[in-house]
């Protein structure tokens, strides 16, 4: 599955998205991403699934649009 990255997370990963094996839940996904990018632990971010910010452990489907959103700074 493709994970879109924004803001300072683009700096962290060196690109604006990462591809990972399909994961069943957001918790599993974050676990996997932290093994690939250990610094992610020190970053604040929300998870958006299909353009909705989710809270708590959420099931994922292969076609979901997933994005990690650091604190917003528009305006």
């Amino acid at each position: 599955m493709k994970i879109q990255l924004f803001g300072n997370l683009v700096d962290l990963a060196g690109k604006n998205h990462v591809e990972v094996e399909n994961q069943p839940t957001t918790d599993k996904l974050i676990e996997l991403l932290v093994t690939r990018f250990p610094e992610l632990k020190d970053h604040q971010f929300l998870i958006a699934v299909n353009h909705e910010v989710i809270s708590g452990k959420t099931e994922l489907h292969p076609c979901d649009e997933i994005a990690l959103l650091p604190p917003f700074s528009g305006g």
């Binding site: 604190p71 917003f72 528009g74």
Partner: protein, 148 residues
């Protein structure tokens, strides 16, 4: 759902856009009040450096969804005529405008309150990020302060 959607402006928002939008509301003879907010890039000091510009990126599809949601909420809360929001993408130099909100209502109280609410919502809920460019000397990711 791309950069050319009306909400997004490539680079700075030209002051002329404000006049154009006001003129657009003048055919509405029930409109009595326009409340407008503009956010402008400051050359804030950061350590020994200064912000020369802010480079904005957005999760565009989600911004458009949040935009629909704030419009719906405000039309449900206040008797309004129209709401329009514009936000820059890309580089906006210090002294130039990156956010433009215009709310039109029959009466001033509703226009003013809805415009204030829209600005607060945009700062908190729109997935947009600003990278503060410090000349040749690097950058820093902006963070919104909700007490401002």
């Amino acid at each position: 759902m791309s950069k050319d959607h009306s909400l997004f402006i490539d680079g700075s928002i030209p002051p002329d856009l404000v006049s154009t939008q006001i003129a657009k509301q003048q055919t509405d003879l029930r409109a009595g009040a326009h409340s407008i907010f503009l956010g402008q890039v400051r050359n804030d000091p950061i350590d020994e450096k200064r912000v020369h510009a802010i480079e904005y990126t957005a999760y565009e599809e989600m911004v458009l969804k949040e935009y629909e949601s704030i419009k719906e909420e405000l039309f449900d809360t206040y008797p309004l005529r129209t709401i329009e929001v514009f936000h820059s993408l890309g580089t906006v130099p210090a002294g130039e405008v990156s956010l433009f909100v215009i709310v039109t209502a029959e009466h001033r109280k509703e226009a003013i309150n809805a415009c204030r609410d829209a600005v607060n919502f945009i700062k908190k809920q729109f997935p947009i990020w600003g990278r503060e460019l410090l000349g040749d000397e690097g950058y820093q990711w902006k963070e919104n302060n909700f007490d401002e």
